[in-house]
Amino acid sequence: MSNPYIPNIAVIRKIITENAVNDIKTFEVVFEDPELAESFTFNPGQFGMVSYFGAGECPIGIASSPTDQGFLQFTIKKVGVVTTALHNSMEGQKIGVRGPYGNGWPIEAMEDKNIVIVGGGFAFTTLRSLAKYMLHDENRDRYKDITIIYGARNPGELSYKYDLENWGKRNDLDLVITVDKGDAEWTGREGYVPTILKEVSPSSENAVAAVCGPPVMIRFTMPVLTELGFQPDRILLSLEMRMKCGIGKCGRCNVGNKFVCQDGPVFTQKELESMPKEY
C-alpha cells in the first residue's frame, strides 16, 4: 500500500509553445527514475496530477500517446497558480507527476468501429492522444475509418500544428480543421465545430463519437450527433471538474455518486443522462 499522494519527480525536457498568444504550451517531461520512465503505461484520455513544488498540483490530461516511449506530454493553458508557475519555468525544471488516473477513452470497445473525433480549443489534448494512438502503425488497422473534426477560435489558437500537418498528408484519415474566425492567411474552413460537423456529417453506422471541448461547444454538438443517428451509448464525453486528489477521496469532482476523476472523466452520453445535470 504506497502513499498515493507522493508524486514521482520528473524533469521538463522540452517546452513547445502551441498558440500565438503563447498561453498554451506543451511540456515534454521525463521521469527522473529511469525504471519508472520505462515502466510507466497509460491509456489515451487518462490524466496525471502535475505538481510544481511551491505552487501546488493540478490535473492535466496526458497529451502524448502511449506509443510515445519514455516521455509524457502535458498541454497546459496558463490560467491559475500552478499553470502560471509551469509556464514561467524553463527546460530542466524538476516537477512532480503522479498517475495515470481516470478511465480514459475505451480503446478496446472502439476497435473495428468508425471513429469520429470532435474536439474544440485546447481541450483537444486527450483527443490528440487518442488520435496519435489509433494512427500509430501497430494500431491503425484495428480501427475502421477515422474522422477528426477539430476547431479553435482562430488560426493562432490551433494546437499541435505539426501533427495536423502530418495527419493532413495521410489518406487513411479524414481531417477537418476549422476556426470560428479566420485571418488574412487562413485558407481553411471557417465556422463553429457543430456546424462543420453537420456539413461533414460522418455516418453513424457502426461508429463511435469522442467529444471534448468547452461547454458551449458540447451543448451544440450533442444534438447534431443525435441527429446524425449516434446512439447515446456511442457518444463519449470527457468531463472537466475541479480536482485536488485525483484518486476519488477529496470529494469535490462528483457528479451524482460518480467521481469524475475515478469513474470518469470519460462517460457515455447514456451514462450522463442517468446522472444529475451538475457539470
Binding site: P7, S51, F53, E57, K249, C250
Partner: protein, 338 residues
Amino acid sequence: MNSKILGKNQLTKFIDEFIGEYRVFAPVKKGKIIGFDEIASGKETCLDFQNTKQPPKSVFFPQTEVLFEYKKGEKGLEKAGSGDRDKILLGMRPCDARALVIFDRFFSSGEHEDLPYLQKRERTAVVGLACNHPLNTCFCTSLGGSPFGSEGMDLKLVDLGDEYLVEILTNKGEKLVEDIKWLRDAEESDLNRARDLAEDAENAMKPKISTDGLCDKLDGMFDDPVWEGIHQKCIGCGVCSFLCPTCWCFDVLDEDTGTGVKRVRIWDTCQFPLFTKQGSGFNPRPSGKERMRQRIMHKFNYYPKDFGEFGCVGCGRCVRECPVNLDIREVIRAVMSV
C-alpha cells in the same frame, strides 16, 4: 471472555495501565470546550460529559496534515512520518465509533487507498462509552445507530452508577484487559442493570425520524423545488462539516517552509464556493442551493448507493452548533414529506 467491572475511582488507575505503551486519547476540557486530546495520565480526563464539541476524527484525519516535504536541492521527497506507537481512543460515544467505521470504509475503497489515514487508523483500539442520557438533539436511532451501540469499538464502558461495566467486543479489546488482574468479573445483576439502562436510553430517543426509503426518494429529487426552501438561511460556513464525524472532504495545497515546500492537506467543505470553482471561473455549484443539496445528497443518497448505509450517524453536532439553527432533521423531514 466475559465482561469486567471497573470502579469509577479506579478509572485513573485503569488508564495509567496503558500510558507509556500506548498513546491514549480521551475527552479533555480545554477552556470552555471538551475535545479529544492526548493525555499523559488518567486524571486528565473526565468521562462525565455529553459529547465532545469536535468528533475524534481529527486524531486520524487532522485539520492540517503534511503529506510530504520537498527540500530544495535534495533528491526525492521526504515522506511524512507514518503511524508510530499504538493508540487507544477512550471515551468515544457509539455514534463517533460508528462514524469511524464509515470513514474507514470510504478511505479504503476504490483503486487508491488513503494511506496517511489508514496508517494512523491501523494501530488503534477504541474504548467506547455508552450514552445513558442521550441529548434530544441526538438522532442516532433514526439512522441505524443506538446509544448503546458497539459498532467500531473494541471495549465498551457502561456507566452503572459508581462502577463501569467493561464489555469486551473484539480480541483486540480482550488483549487490552487480559493482563489487568485487578478487574473483577461482572455478575448477572450488573449485566441486567446495563440492559435496563440500554432500554431506557433507547426509549428516551423517541420519536424517531423516519428515514426508510430516504435514499431512493432522493434519487428523483435532484431538481425538486424543495431545495430552494431548505438552503435559504444557510450562510455557507464550515461549522456543520468541520464538526461532522463523517465529513472527510479535504483540500491539497503547498506551503513554503523557506527551505523547501510542504504539501499539506486541510479540511474542506462542499459548502465553500471555491470547493468546485474551476480555473475557467465556471462553478457547477454556484449558489448555496446546489451546495446544500450536494451535502444532503452525498450523506443520504450517494454514499448509501455506494456503501449501503447512510453517511450520517445522527450525532447532532451540526444541529447544536449551526449558527442559524438549520436543523438537518428538519431537512430530512422536508425531503421525506415531498
